[in-house]
Symmetry: C2
Subunit: 355 residues, 2 copies
DNA sequence: AGCTGAATGTAAATCGATTCATTCGTCATG
DNA sequence: CATGACGAATGAATCGATTTACATTCAGCT
């Protein structure tokens, strides 16, 4: 019940004393630099084990210019996407021997700039910034102002100063266009909820460009908005009401996870059967999509690859001091076909030219 | 393109020089302790502003026994629940002037113990542990062994050494029992997926106890398992197949988020209408539950309250040095009624005694 | 034996902020 | 006028590890 006295931790000097060498020697053994006699090295290792010594990363970082910490600033920790991303970053950082400090900007640009400054206070080796807005936001601005090393991830395109890593939204959306057109769809609705962000616009362009290239006669409608949920629902209803029975789009490509949810629920509400009456593809996969019935076809983002690439890119600059021109990395997505695009009754209105 | 030279940061000595006082005085002004002449204090503040000085938390923490950092160890960052919890913790910690280090144990007990030790390396003031298993897991064991200050959150009951904070699973489940029974349901299925954890068992007991108390004749079936998804799906089908049409349970109470998803998808697959044929209540709310159609009635956990309570409890021990007997905090949940329990056609088989 | 260069070891300085023990004024009081 | 008492300021020590600059040892060669 009463807390036992906290046993004070052994310091590097304690280890040195037990091993009968100097602290400097212990330090050399621990970070395996310089040369130490086999025998002494052994005794140090024994002393470490005996005392249960563990280095204080704080004290270590103080003297060392090169602090083994990387910072991560994320717009939102409540979404599974960023949760997974952060998990991946952590794993990669740890593998490289770095600790990671995470902070959520909670979708606020002011807070984002603030957090970047705070990362600089910690003298992190580098920062992974997943911006609220884009590479032109306040966070990136702050990074530049402070002359920090960083990688920009997810809601960005290329940048003149920092490396960037994103899912290949454009190519993935083009694949979706192929998938839907080759299944015979000739009238598709593109729906985007939440912010009309850079990613969403890229996805839209990827689909539209490829669709037009495959068949110029295909009709692509767009429904984009930043309004609140209720307004968006009404917009969907109004759109669908504008078509007589048997007319209207035969497929929906929703450009974000929330958008998929919204569209699906409106379809269900009015009794539109998926996929029989309407095919559905969503950008960004989620657990509920493969568990629900019918399971939803979705574009899965390569979260793990993005995370690994981000850390690798960052550390390449930090450690190797590479100052090459910044690179934009695009990681390929995967389209996972599920029940929502199963063409049981292919809505055949026309067939692909040449197929 | 070429990085500008990183401008070296001003130290407390630079500030002292500019202000024409000693570093010690600057320190006193900055942390507002001791006594400093008004005039000097003012000049220090001006120097700080002029140089854009910011304290190095690392250097500060080194000398200070009291490092303003709290650690958080979470079993999983990809689930919105823990994501929200961590966000709340971060907010609360920041409000109290603490930095927070987050790490995910990824549902591994070994890793959990490891992370706790690592938090100790950082000499954190205290740790918020959301255990993989329970207060008897490896993480908690490590906390005890190292004599650390900590709060245990979420997958725990009372503990003899640490304060604990959880949602009041028992009471919330009892409310669900009241809700369903008073709507006329007399045959309910309790379904639990994922681990048969402490939380799930508490929820089960809460429902069963209250249901029995209200009406001893009510039938409560249980379907619990730790198997893979496909096996669980089959179990649900087999269970439902065991009843003739018009017979069987009229409501399902699913004891975890994933369980809700699973049950709902099986109901949809076999064309069981919710809520007309079957009412559904899920423990743990999620975005898709209020967006989907029909929207699902769910028990919302007070994430923000849990987070605040956890940090408050921890800091009370750390700062005030309180060594009172450990307390178990139960935060009340809220049952959010939505369409999935709307009794359009109340399945009246019997009525509540006395109602 | 004497010399050289490499290998090995260590005392001390350092990182940036905090705190302790002391000094320096100033003003009140016996 | 001497003696305290108290407010204010500061030099130096400290936190724990790393690194620098230098000392020592040793093997190999003339």
């Amino acid at each position: 019940m009463a807390r036992e006295e906290k046993p004070k931790r052994a310091t590097i000097h304690d280890v040195a004393r037990v091993a009968g060498v100097s602290a400097a020697t212990v330090s050399k053994v621990l970070r395996s630099v310089g040369s130490v006699k086999q025998e002494n090295a052994q005794r140090v290792r024994e002393a470490v084990a005996q005392l249960g010594y563990r280095m204080d990363p704080l004290a270590s970082g103080l003297r060392n210019e090169n602090r083994k910490i990387i910072g991560a600033v994320v717009p939102d920790l409540e979404s599974p996407f960023f949760g997974a991303l952060v998990t991946g970053l952590e794993r990669a950082a740890e593998a490289a021997g770095y600790a990671m400090i995470v902070a959520s900007s909670r979708e606020s640009e002011d807070r984002e700039a603030d957090l970047v400054a705070r990362m600089n206070d910690w003298r992190v080796a580098g920062t992974v910034l997943m911006p609220v807005r884009s590479e032109r936001g306040r966070g990136a601005e702050q990074l530049r102002a402070l002359g920090m090393q960083a990688v920009l991830v997810d809601r960005v395109t290329a940048d003149g100063e920092f490396d960037t890593v994103t899912a290949d939204n454009y190519a993935a959306s083009a694949s979706v266009a192929e998938l839907l057109l080759s299944a015979g769809h000739r009238h598709v609705l593109l729906h985007g909820a939440t912010q009309v962000s850079k990613s969403v616009r890229t996805r839209l362009a990827g689909f539209a460009d490829r669709a037009a290239a495959l068949d110029p006669s295909v009709r692509v409608d767009r429904l984009l908005s930043d309004d609140d949920t209720e307004t968006q629902r009404r917009a969907i209803r109004d759109y669908l009401d504008g078509f007589a029975a048997g007319k209207g789009p035969t497929a929906v490509f929703s450009l974000s996870q929330y958008s998929t949810l919204l569209v699906l629920s409106e379809l269900r509400r009015r009794g539109v059967r998926v996929p029989d009456d309407m095919a559905l593809v969503g950008f960004d996969d989620a657990e509920w999509m493969h568990t629900t019935w019918p399971a939803i076809t979705a574009v899965a983002q390569p979260v793990e690859a993005i995370a690994e690439r981000a850390v690798a890119t960052l550390l390449a600059r930090v450690e190797a001091g590479s100052s090459a021109f910044p690179v934009q990395h695009l990681e390929p997505c995967k389209v996972i076909e599920r029940e929502s695009t199963l063409s049981r009754s292919v809505p055949a209105q026309s067939s692909l030219p040449g197929e």
